[in-house]
């Protein structure tokens, strides 16, 4: 153990968390006093009381995302995320029965609209779109717009939002601690009785979100093209925001069916972190959530990406400065090699003294930035990715060649022990810094519980990194970062 590691260990040991000889072997994170409650319906609730300002952070993570979609319904998990802010049987409505009567007419009109579109009957399409708009306006007369947001805003809430990824949809908000019960009342209502009102208007909002994040954003375009090329079979290749043509055809019934299948309490992990009494939180969890029936068992993702047998290259032409993205297929984030893969990324681009940064950014000034990551998910075999932003006048080919040379050098000699030690120190310090945020901790333990089945696993990551040897890094680089296993995506100006 080097000096820095000794300092860290001493500092952490002195952090004031009570320790027995057994516990002393655990990390600071593993010793957090998290109460784990599993309700009869399978919902897991994690409660972590923390001193500090009287605030509390709530995270609900559903194990559903882009991988649970297929062509024709891409973007449905994300659209559902939007729809769950639209209220319930009682929140957001003056007369839910009247709304539902109009939903039936709207949805039937939408079915007809899809047929008219398929028949390329433009005048009928236009008339049907106008009718849907008219019906939605009629239904709006019964809507109390954004009431969920208003209730939470008036309670002093901060940061209410949600995010959808390949494997999870996560809802989060922070509240003053004395209003914690309000969250249980609203969230249990949302989980069990949502109403997908203003559906077709919100679908248009999601279409605008896609335009903003993908269709007017060079990085978004390149990312989408790269994943689609790298994954020919596995749903990791499908954009979480959805393809435009799918977004234009998704129906309310599609979203309702998807909700029923994936939003059961047994597919949810709740994390409550902040100035709360665990007994009281457990009581509220049982009171508000326990009677929600289990959901259907989500179908497993059985698609397996076949081995890549040769380099793939894709070019995106767009009126923007060039970008480069390279991805190699690697095992999932749950694999025994995951820590070595993470270490490889840090050795290559983690910090200014890392290999690729030093050569490409500092010494040869070929790029303004170079970044390694893994993605787009965790649960399934994924990509080890390198993104680079070439400097003006430097050819992409030159940048690409330099990246491959550095990888070959790493494969030939392996990383130095100093490089690994540096990464471990950064991870240790990061573990302490993450303790500063209630919301950050809530995300961390909810993700860990949902993905890995144990909230403590996230805090064991540094142990796994500690166990990575230089030879492990060299071995996985040699095994996976090879030409036949890579997909290269380039964004260029047309005609360049």
């Amino acid at each position: 153990m080097n000096h820095a590691a000794v300092v860290l260990a001493t500092a952490i040991a002195g952090a004031g968390v009570g320790a027995t000889p057994l516990l002393a072997q655990q990390s600071m994170g593993e010793r957090l006093p998290v109460r784990e409650v599993v309700l009869e319906n399978g919902m897991t609730v994690l409660v972590l009381p923390r001193e500090g300002a009287p605030t509390v952070s709530f995270v609900v993570r559903f194990g559903v995302g882009g991988v649970h979609e297929h062509l024709g319904t891409t973007g449905i998990a994300h659209l559902l995320e939007h729809m769950l802010f639209k209220g319930t049987n009682s929140i957001g409505t003056r007369d839910v029965a009247a709304e539902r009567r109009l939903f039936v007419q709207m949805d039937a009109t939408h079915d007809t609209l899809l047929l008219a579109r398929a028949a390329a009957d433009a005048s009928r399409v236009s008339a049907l779109e106008a009718r849907i708009e008219m019906l939605e306006d009629s239904a709006r007369a019964f809507v109390l717009p954004n009431e969920l947001d208003r209730i939470l805003t008036e309670a002093g809430a901060r940061g209410m939002n949600a995010t959808t990824s390949s494997e999870a949809t996560t809802y989060f908000v922070e509240l003053p601690a004395n209003r914690a019960e309000l969250w249980f009342a609203l969230e249990s209502d949302r989980m069990s009785r949502p109403v997908f009102r203003e559906f077709y208007t919100e679908r248009n909002v999601v279409i605008e979100e896609r335009r903003m994040r993908v269709e007017t954003e060079p990085g978004g375009l390149l990312y989408e093209a790269h994943l689609a090329s790298a994954f020919t079979m596995h749903p990791y290749g499908v954009p979480v925001v959805g393809y435009m043509s799918d977004l234009q055809t998704l129906s309310r019934r599609d979203v309702e069916a998807y909700y029923r299948r994936f939003y059961g309490p047994d597919n949810a992990v709740v994390a409550v972190v902040g100035d709360v009494d665990p007994d009281q939180v457990e009581g509220w969890a049982r009171q508000y959530f326990a009677d929600i029936p289990r959901g259907e068992a989500p179908p497993p993702v059985l698609a397996v990406e076949p081995p890549q047998r040769g380099e793939r290259r894709v070019t995106v032409e767009w009126d923007a400065e060039p970008r480069l993205r390279i991805g190699w297929h690697v095992p999932s984030g749950l694999d025994d090699d995951a820590a070595a893969i993470a270490m490889l990324g840090s050795v290559l681009t983690g910090g200014r003294t890392s290999r690729l940064h030093r050569r490409l950014v500092m010494d040869e000034q070929l790029v303004t930035g170079v970044y390694a990551s893994t993605g787009p998910g965790t649960l399934f075999p994924q990509l080890f990715q390198i993104d680079a932003i070439p400097r003006s006048g430097r050819s992409i080919e030159l940048v690409e060649a330099a990246i491959y040379e550095e990888i070959e050098r790493l494969v030939a000699t392996g990383p130095e022990e100093r490089e690994l030690e540096q990464v471990r120190n950064q991870v240790e310090a990061g573990n302490v810094r993450r303790m500063t945020s209630n919301l950050g901790l809530a995300f961390q333990i909810a993700d860990s519980q949902s993905l890995l089945g144990d909230w403590r696993e996230t805090f064991r990551w540094s142990e796994l990194l500690d166990s990575v040897a230089a030879e492990d890094v060299r071995r996985i680089a040699a095994r996976y970062l090879v030409e036949s296993n890579r997909t290269v995506a380039v964004l260029r100006r047309p005609g360049s």
Binding site: E51, P54, A177, N178, R211, Q280, Q287, I389, T436
Partner: protein, 484 residues
Amino acid sequence: MVRSTYLFGFTLGAAVLAWAPLVVSGQTPNVREAIEALVYDPLEWSPPAPERHEVSGVTALLLEDRTLPLVTVLASFRGGYGLFGRDQYAATMGLPALLRYGGTATASPDSVELLLEFYAMQTSFQSGGVSMGSTLNTLTGQLDESLGLWWELISDPGFDEDQIEIWRGRELERVLRRADDPGGLAYSAFNRLLYGDHSIGWELDAEDLAPDRTTPEQFRQIHARIFCRENLTLGVAGDIAWDDARPRLERLVRALAPCPEALTASAIPEIRRGGGVYLMERDLEQAVIIMAHPTSVRLADETQFFAATMGNAILGGGGFSSRILQRVRSDEGYAYSASSLWTTPRRYDGLIGAITRTSPENAVPAIDVILGTMDQMRTSTPSAGELKTAVDRIVNGYVFNFQAPEQIVQRMMLYVSGELPDDWLERYAEGVQEVTTDDIRQVFADHLRPEEMTILVVGDPDRIGRDALARLGPVTVLEPQTPN
């Protein structure tokens, strides 16, 4: 004092349960009624306040917090690009990056990197129009090593020529890539339109980044004017007591040279008035819309300011609870995001306006909706419910101003450098509670003039509709600035 029913008393776990479980067989519960029946105990809690000290003539704030073995040290210096000429703009803008990456007089950039990464210290350097700042976050056990290295970066920088060149190349690349981001392009063009050649409207260009404007000597000159004793305010938060902090802070102050001369205040900007419609043609799937005009409401402890902030929250600054997002997104489905802005600088006029992005075909309809929504704000009072939502957010969410010790210290440092009273946050919370719906209508009637908006649209004119755009007023086509 903040609204009495929300006094900061906190009794853990004492909130009162006032209603039956949600799911009752055969019944659909009315959750709205149920949550209205919930009763919340007041938060019995005292917000932590930093101690205020003086160290060799420098104000130093300390908030001790022993929760984690971490110490954050913050340094704020008066001086930013707004206080220097355009010929020194690049060197002033680049100063934070070069302090961080340019090495020191005794340590090469590489050595600094190795030490920073080895000790896993976190540093950040920021610059603004009138101030610069830096933050160190370190484990308590490494405080002395970290503090020494951090302050050497600040007080005795190396301005390594290779690092300057790397920074310059990166900034030139940013200039080139500015056009890749339609939002960034729109903001740049809009700032130039409204602020002309005032520093608020500046953006780095190739001329600024010429080698003779970015020499080590240029950086040293600017550094000497800003990073000197009289410009400094210090803050400390975390795992340290004042008796331990004081000698360390004294060493920091002593290591700084006195300021050669005081910096003069920035010029008052002359903001474009009179409005107009501007188009920057770009073949894009989405149009970016920015509109604004100047207003004279200033940040001050007076009704007009509080009415403006609450009014902006109702108009479009309050997310889903505000009118613009409600109309543009929830009602019409035109955009993913839409908001208003109402800036209130202390020394000069601010702006009132709005921002959104939508499909080109919906650009003019979205502008119409926004202008119509604005017009309503000056002709009729908002509802009591809208004002309640805006005020309750501030009052009930007051505790979120005290989530992290460094956040509290940093805010107090801003008050010190901005010459605001120490209790400004409390005054603000009181001030917004005194605003009436009539105050809000009056402040909009006095200061909002939709017909005087300068409206910029970046997008495809054929899809936006040239005639539709012209209906808003004579359209001036702007050429994107071509990087040289």
